[in-house]
Amino acid sequence: MSTYEWLLSLHVTGAFLFLGGGAAAGILNLRAWHAERPSEVALLLRLIARVAVPAIGIGSIMTLLIGLWLVHNAGYSYGTFWVWAGTVLWVVAGALGARGGSYQSKAGVEAARLADAGDTMTAELRALVRDPVGNALSYGSGLTLLLILILMIWKPGQ
């Protein structure tokens, strides 16, 4: 395998962790919507923090660092539209995901508190889990990742 192919393999591995972690977070989040008890909500949101978020974090760093190396190795220009737009969207996805995650953390804390106090679902917890702003931020982050994938495949401006 050439250096280019090694770098591409590692870049794609990062992308699988990044987007796959996002998909796993989305699935677990949707399951938390349908949970019947606060202890279940707390568990599902904790799994996002312990499994999906680390995958997203490792994947995001890998895609950026190896992606920039790949641009240099393959002889692309850093000023090309798809390269700089992908980098800007990478920052946007991270910012939206981090902000959305803070809403989920708040829901997780409330779910854990209710789980210790009788484990009965309340309207407040359901509203926190289904908060439109928090979910829009998290799923907006996922959509931004999709846009990055589109840029990486179509390479507009190349």
């Binding site: 395998m1 972690g21 998909a23 796993a24 977070a25 699935i27 677990l28 202890s39 999906a52 994938l149």
Partner: protein, 149 residues
């Protein structure tokens, strides 16, 4: 330098294939996580229920998108970029097709698990999910690194 040589008319099939594969990986990651949590918390029904839905509503539709994209891309690239079946393609096709069997078995066992709450069903799902995660990683490494080309 496949990306440089590839005509734009091949981009959409490739996008479907890669996007489907990434969502499939995420769904199997969620399945693996949930099924292992089920070992520790067998009394929490949400775990087995969520495992079943992650497979049925996440992994299976993603597999279909991935496989349609793969076949479409193959029909465009075959005879133009490669002849015969290079190693990377054989690995990808093998994992995709064997993966469907693993996926259907895992979904069947997850259904049994959520209905019966039998621990053995959850453990079989864990084993199948870990196996599929490993196979998916081998497939993306082989296909992106163009093994044997």
């Amino acid at each position: 330098m496949i990306a440089i040589l590839r005509p734009h008319s091949w981009d959409f099939p490739l996008f479907l294939h890669v996007f489907g594969a990434m969502v499939l990986f995420g769904a199997i990651l969620a399945t693996t996580t949930l099924s292992f949590v089920g070992w520790r918390l067998p009394e929490v029904r949400a775990v087995s229920r969520s495992t079943f839905w992650a497979l049925l509503a996440g992994a299976i539709p993603a597999w279909i998108v991935m496989r349609i994209g793969a076949q479409w891309a193959y029909s465009k690239e075959h005879h133009q970029l490669f002849e015969g079946t290079p190693t990377w393609l054989a690995v990808g096709l093998g994992v995709a097709d064997a993966g469907l069997i693993i996926l259907l078995l895992a979904t069947g066992f997850a259904f049994w698990w959520q209905r019966s709450q039998k621990a053995i069903a959850g453990r079989v799902v864990s084993g199948l999910a870990v196996l599929y995660l490993i196979l998916l990683a081998v497939a993306w490494l082989a296909m992106s690194g163009k093994w044997g080309s």
